[in-house]
Amino acid sequence: MNAIETAGLSRRYRRVWALRDCTLAIPAGRVVALVGPNGAGKTTLLNLAVGLTTPTEGTVTVLDGRPAGSAQARSGIAFVAQDAPLYPNLSVADTLHLTRNLNLRWDQKRAASRLAELAIPLDRKVGKLSGGQQAQLALTLAVARLPELVILDEPLARLDPLARHDFMASLMAAVAEDGLSVLFSSHVVAELERVADYLIVLSRGRLQVAGPVDDLVAGHRVLTGPAAETDLFNERLAPLHVQRAGAQAHLMVRMDAAAAIPAGWTSTPVGLEELVLAYLREPDATVLPGPATLNRVAS
């Protein structure tokens, strides 16, 4: 089962393409990080997945083929938009009440006990809560809807490091408890490794990297050797990124640990952050799964 499938998905705003020809199959049961610089099309992709925006071209389905934005899709997806917008004049209790009435499935006990754990007072106006508390309330509302997939747009952007940590811990606890799928966007590259097991990198509206974190990390190595010999690799291994430090050079290449390396060179594993940064620096390099995993519409 796939949490989200897109085929040739594109969205244009006036004359600018926010997302171009994006074909993806995100498996269910994963915690997916959607990474990219500002303006890369992350929010557009998420809005398309939850049905807030309609595609200019292509298709997007969620939770095994339900059209994005349809009633069946909405009941299975909980979306936390950027900055977790909620009605500031409603109290926390009224916000729970409202959300319960706007949904078919709802676990009031769970919502109440989560808020009690977080020490968020029910009678407080939402507008008077701290940024971290508002984000936690939005997550509580999302989880209490008993969704199959939670989508979060930049959930960490406005949180301080402590709130960030607490928020991710809450999210991971919910994942562990319910086995739900999570897709979240972030421009914070650090800390991704601890939470995400699937990575998508968008750049300038195009899909650059998509795949399980373990495979990506295992499929890349950093080779270190004499800078003078760097050119040897340009054809054979097509290094993603070359960093020269005096006589030495560090090359990030796509190869696994078992691959043979030339004499005089050492191979070391890469971290996820290092890998993401390398791709962000080289927007033309791509790592995409083959078309076999997609239900691509014949065109």
Partner: protein, 332 residues
């Protein structure tokens, strides 16, 4: 917030109208009990004069500028459209809460329909009650200072037209907010549209209806002053002729001995006002003058009201349907 404000504003107006209206009503009842309205005119005894004074002061100071009061009340729907209608969706777009509300299981179409339906129905109910109150007050206040209920802002202040205006202005505000998506421009668009339409209703609407709804022409044997409650046209000579009670006089004239229209100026008629009713009739006969009026009969009033109120509600429903369509169709 805006809802509370609107409730307080309408409530405060209702209290003022209620209190002054009840005082005028009891004074009016006292005038009736004292038989101050005799057949053929107003009884000018000192007792009746006193009661008349208390009638006037029952509504004072509002009764001293009743036209202004009517205009102020007629603007209320415009304010509702601006402060409740226009922000309804625009604020959701601006604060981002649309992205929260529209992604819940119920969906954006039902969420918007529910908001529109609930608020629209409440406004219609509140508007009918308030319109009835305002209409009752204006008829009472009209007794102290003649205005016509057929025209001007007061035409929009009945249990039929006022809820129509409220619902229409609200729906127009919400439509503007769905189309423009910014609170302040949506408010401005609502205000501009509303002001034009209110002016049209007050100044032109019943006049237009009159042109498609033929006038009655009537020879009136009884001069205007004798027909208590009759609305008389404010034309030279027109004061001498009255339509049947509650009608709307659009024109009045005199014919001479050969049945031709003759111009009569106010000075000629001056002696008439000091005469008793029977003597007035014989004075006119002796001068070979016959007063005529053309008018809309009183029964047409509610027809006109129903046309305006019905049109307002119909347009409001169309606007509401377009709003839901826009919300469903356009991306957030």
């Amino acid at each position: 917030m805006a809802l509370t404000g609107a409730a307080i504003l309408l409530g405060a107006c209702a209290v003022v109208l209620g209190v002054t209206g009840l005082r005028m009503q009891s004074a009016h009842n006292a005038l009736n009990r004292a038989h101050c309205f005799s057949i053929g005119g107003f009884n000018v005894s000192s007792r009746c004069g006193q009661l008349w004074g208390s009638y006037y002061h029952g509504g004072y100071p509002l009764t001293s500028s009743i036209g202004l009061v009517a205009a102020a009340l007629a603007i209320l729907p415009l304010l509702i459209g601006m402060f409740i209608g226009a922000p309804l969706l625009a604020r959701e777009f601006e604060s981002g809460t649309a992205r929260f509300a529209w992604t819940q299981a119920v969906g954006r179409g039902r969420w918007t329909s529910a908001k529109l339906g609930l608020l629209g129905a409440s406004l219609a109910a509140a508007g009918a009650a308030f319109g009835a109150l305002a209409g009752w007050w204006l008829v009472l206040a009209d007794g102290t200072m003649a205005i016509t209920r057929w025209q001007g802002p007061q035409f929009g202040l009945t249990a039929v037209t006022f809820p129509g205006w409220l619902v229409f202005m609200f729906a127009a505000g919400v439509f503007a907010s769905a189309a423009i998506r910014r609170t302040v421009p949506a408010m401005a668009a609502t205000a501009a549209t509303g002001a034009v339409l209110l002016w049209f209703s007050a100044e032109k609407f019943t006049g237009m209806l009159t042109s498609v709804s033929p006038l009655h022409t009537h020879t009136s044997l009884v001069p205007a002053t004798l027909a208590a409650g009759g609305d008389s046209a404010d034309l030279i000579g027109g004061n001498a002729a009255a339509a049947p009670r509650g009608g709307w006089v659009l024109n009045a004239w005199f014919t001479g001995p050969r049945g031709r229209i003759v111009p009569v100026d106010a000075n000629t008629l001056n002696p008439l006002w000091n005469l008793k009713p029977a003597a007035q009739v014989s004075w006119l006969a002796s001068h070979h003058l016959t007063p005529w009026v053309s008018y809309q009969s009183a029964g047409r009033f509610w027809t006109f009201q129903a046309v305006e109120g019905g049109a307002a509600v119909l347009i409001a429903l169309l606007l509401a349907a377009s709003t839901v369509w826009l919300v469903r169709r356009r991306p957030a």
